[in-house]
Symmetry: C2
Subunit: 334 residues, 2 copies
């Protein structure tokens, strides 16, 4: 018989304990978590500490290429990886709406566990809260990540320098386009899988290939490639010049955008990063990116003017200034 | 004019950036957070690492003695403190329902910041997601904590020994009783403030006074004092004998329980801990607890039999076995 989450599962009593054992302890299979104390205890780490957190409210929770659990682990691991950190451990807080099928929760926990295993990272602590029917939408997750930075590694917009090269690790916008199609509100069919995935190996490869020439890495999530670049331009005070023709966009994504009047530059990815690297290492880094994703490409460079702006050079020789969108193109894509 | 949260505030575009600046960066005032990179970077720490996370869905969000922001910071700091760790940094993920007043969000952020300052802990990273009206209930928070454990410190149920003394740091059940009254569904008035508060100084005092004689500390949150003790009994395989008359319960809490048929032993506290300490340090630890809260008391001891059970010796000479409740007494108390 299908069992569903009740308010009693969030009470802290026997049903909470059983749910935690049956679903989370079993899936995450971690000694620190199994102790069920107030905090998980991990061995001392050396290096600077990286901390990150993200909430996940994606709708639908399962989509071609992923689900909310995989998305949460990828998102958190990627945030550590693009900071140049080695991810060590994650924690997860679940906010569950009364009525969710226990089997779905179990599937999400397994998906989280599988993705964490793939990244070589532990899920060491968790929490479960249940809200009344109508006060949630099935399941929300909030994951946090703890990682360690090798000595002296510092990435960020502040390190951008005129002449640096801008690279993207693969075709853009596929996550948001896939979510859009998965909602089934469009009378439009396309075989489109989210790019939801881990960027840890990619980051390690880029840092190994580019060394100190790697200025900044950022995953292009909410707001897409354009938002990352606008934030870089604003934070560095430099200009970013992009060649539109060089930016990889799959035909199906371009078609969805065409139909709906969306701009692929602003569509969220969940497994793509932008790397800004010095000119002398650009070729090596580009080659490294292309070994894991053949669509990886060099898309532009850092320039002095216009200061603080992103300028797109269009195929037909025009120039368009990119800016942050006021709002987004689609709610609840992650 | 009162401004409200819209879906665009969760889009990752300009409105998200403005909200984060205006509400969170301003309130939390932390260099690591201000950089707005994917991860916050902190200096290396020495000692074992403690990690914890909790979701907060309390209803109402403001109650006598606290609010959801204070509750979240206290809960996370306390989880680190009872593990014997020194809290270093917190992260916070907000899941906001469309329509929430920006002024309320600002008040919550300020409350978090003030409580974190009081604890001497930084809020270094955050995330904001917005869900459609009807898919949430105003505001949910998920906080995570990172702390450091002094070398060799290990607390936990596994260290319980026959003859140990059980202490509680103050009167119990006040948080859940205050939430119950704050919902206004009872035709019952009582001046009752939640015990929501920081336990960090209390833990430091207990550990200084009791040293290695401190076996285990745990804050009594969801499920109350009884649930903590049942978990201790099960995890240690020892018995816990409690003297009912020694357990501090305020008359107003007792009256609420009497009226509604609730058991104060199972009511959540948010600023109370149970300490299990060796007999030889019990007096010193009790004296230390009483300096911060005069109602702190010695309430029982660890015994060999009945193994794995908690037995309450009632005022009239009876004995009652305490067990985990199947569900809770009240949903959404934290």
């Amino acid at each position: 018989m299908e069992r569903n989450i009740t308010l009693a599962h969030g009470s802290g009593g026997r049903l909470t304990a059983e749910l935690v054992q049956e679903v989370f302890v079993k899936a995450f299979d971690d000694d620190a978590g199994r102790r069920l104390e107030d905090s998980a205890v991990l061995p001392p780490g050396s290096g600077e500490v990286a901390l990150t957190t993200d909430g996940f409210v994606v709708k639908p929770r399962v989509f071609p290429g992923g689900d909310i659990g995989k998305l949460a682990v990828c998102g958190t691991v990627n945030d550590l990886a693009v900071a140049g950190a080695e991810p060590v451990a994650l924690t997860v807080a679940c906010i569950i709406e009364e009525g969710l099928a226990v089997s779905e929760l179990r599937a999400v926990a397994r998906s989280m566990a599988a993705t964490a295993r793939q990244a070589g990272v532990r899920i060491v602590a968790g929490d479960t809260k249940v809200v009344e029917r109508g006060s949630g939408d099935g399941l929300y997750l909030a994951t946090s990540g703890y990682g360690l930075l090798p000595p002296g590694r510092r990435l960020g917009a502040a390190r951008l320098t005129v002449g640096d090269v801008i690279l993207v690790s693969g075709d853009i916008g596929r996550h948001e386009a896939a979510i859009l199609l998965a909602r089934g509100e469009l009378h439009f069919e396309a075989a489109l899988e989210s790019d939801c995935g881990l960027l840890l190996e990619t980051c390690r490869g880029v840092l190994a290939a580019g060394g100190d020439g790697v200025r900044a890495l950022r995953d292009c999530t909410r707001g897409g490639l354009a938002t990352v670049l606008c934030e870089y331009a604003a934070a560095s005070g430099l200009g970013l010049a992009l060649q539109e023709a060089a930016i990889p966009v799959r035909p199906a994504v371009a078609a969805v955008c065409e139909l709906l009047g969306l701009d692929p530059l602003y569509l969220a990815c969940e497994g793509r990063l932008v790397a800004v690297v010095s000119e002398d290492v650009a070729e090596r880094v580009e080659a490294c990116l292309q070994t894991s994703e053949s669509s990886a490409a060099r898309i532009g460079q850092v320039v002095a003017e216009p200061a603080g702006r992103v300028v797109l050079e269009t195929g037909i020789g025009g120039r368009r200034v990119l800016d942050l969108l006021a709002g987004g193109q689609l709610p609840r894509i992650c």
